[in-house]
């Protein structure tokens, strides 16, 4: 072999020899140089690292602060996300000293009632993990049973693999994951999906984070029948239902995002609306709040059109109590198996 070729090989070989290299594929040249620097010239025991600086460099606070500001409540979830961020940051510093701890597994399970923010948090999680260098791309691939399970023999495995491959470098979010397992049909192809998923969760740990989501009781049944799945998931996060105050705050945030506002009178009406709605069946937390506000917007628009005449900006922005009071929720104070309010 010609000497120049030999040179080329040894030059590029150093990247491959780096044990952390495989997960950092295709990052910029500068980042690659940084990887080599850290892993090859470990810092001495007496040298110091600045965790504050590192924290600033990762701009993780920005994401966490936005998480705090945008998502109302969810204290246990936020705490866990903070803990995970801290762990990844500390791991990064440890690597500078040549301390190689095993890469933490971050497969997660989100349980909670409908509308408690599981999907939203998963999206944020993908972004956070990317900022901390745990994931390479940080995109979210949201799938449900239909996207994973095939329709005939031999269809499931390639289908599942393809979805997993699309999610590599990011987060695979499986909504209503308990549907994967149908105990009433022992020949159900869902079992095959679970097996492939388990295998890939183990073997592709460095480029894949799987988040399962679903209602608490059904996920518990799911894990009981798939103990392997349960043990491979390190983080079981439970999303608590929102309190009345939190729901009101969520409503305010949603309105502000869309350029509406409520006067104090309307807010009081909205609070009593929420109180009644919460006691009704099929209450879906933040999702119900959004739907209620959508309907209020409709009535607001309808009221303006009926009224006619000259309008000011304030008229277009402000929701009045009557926009909310017309809701059917106020019609029957007695809770029965009533249909969804309109």
């Amino acid at each position: 072999m010609d000497p120049p070729l030999g040179d080329l090989r040894s030059e590029s070989g150093s990247v491959a020899d780096d044990p952390s290299g495989s997960s950092e594929l295709a990052v910029g040249k500068g980042a690659q140089a940084a990887i080599e620097l850290y892993s090859e010239t470990g810092l001495g025991a007496d040298e110091t690292v600045d965790i504050t600086k590192e924290r600033e460099a990762s701009s993780i606070d920005e994401v966490l602060d936005r998480l705090d500001a945008d998502l109302v409540g969810l204290a246990p979830v936020k705490t866990r996300i903070r803990e995970i961020s801290a762990l990844l940051l500390v791991d990064r510093l440890r690597r500078r000293y040549g301390l190689h701890s095993a890469r933490p597994t971050l497969h997660m399970c989100f349980t909670g009632s409908p509308g408690t923010g599981k999907t939203t948090v998963a999206l944020r999680m993908a972004e956070i993990l990317k900022r901390l260098g745990y994931l390479e791309k940080g995109h979210l691939v949201a799938v449900s049973r239909d996207d994973l399970v095939g329709q005939y023999i031999g269809h499931t495995a390639p289908k599942t693999r393809e979805v997993i491959k699309r999610a590599m470098g990011g987060v695979l979010f499986i909504d209503e994951a308990y549907y994967l397992y149908r105990p009433e049909n022992e020949r159900d192809y869902g079992q095959e999906t679970i097996e492939i998923l388990l295998q890939m969760m183990e073997s592709q740990r460095q480029d894949l984070v799987v988040i399962l989501a679903g209602y608490k009781d059904r996920m518990d049944t799911f894990f009981r029948s798939n103990p392997g799945m349960s043990s491979r998931i390190a983080h079981h996060l439970d999303f608590p239902d929102y309190t009345l105050e939190e729901l009101a705050a969520i409503g305010r945030l949603m309105l502000a995002e869309q350029g509406y506002e409520m006067g104090s009178e309307a807010e009081a009406v909205f609070a009593s609306y929420l109180e009644r709605r919460m006691r009704q069946p099929r209450f879906a937390n933040a999702r119900s709040v959004r739907n209620a506000l959508e309907r209020a917007r409709l009535r607001h628009a309808d009221r303006l059109m009926r009224g006619g005449g000259v309008l000011r900006k304030a008229d277009l922005v402000r929701l009045e109590p009557e926009d909310l009071l017309k809701s059917r929720v106020f019609d029957d104070p007695v809770i029965s198996g009533a249909a969804t309010p309109t």
Binding site: A26, K165, M168, G170, Q204
Partner: protein, 140 residues
Amino acid sequence: MRITQGAFSYLPDLTEAEIGLQVQYAIDNGWAIAVELTDDPHPRNTYWEMWGLPMFEISSPSAVLHEIDRCRQAFPSHYVRVSAYDASYGRQTTALSFLVQRPEKEPGFRLDRQERSDRRIGYQLHAYAADRPHGERYGA
């Protein structure tokens, strides 16, 4: 004889990290990536067998590296290549293709001369490995 085919084949074999970088380049260009294999590496054999389906919509090269690994395990002594297809209108062809595995022993090709009419000579390449049946050509 070391077979040179596709891109980078005059260079030393690419490392995993380098393969990943090339695949990333293909992904960034929006090309669909496929893993292909053969034990008949004649230069005119353009139709290699495909390993699984071509990969669309992937965002990380690790998906391709994973498939390459699975293919190597299943066919440890075949030629394996990665090809990237550019589907954009006006091109619609393979945009990049390079070998990621070759058999340990490559016996190479024999040149056959054919005596034809009027003392003309025809030439033909014959892979030594092709004497053995498909699937057993480069051992196991």
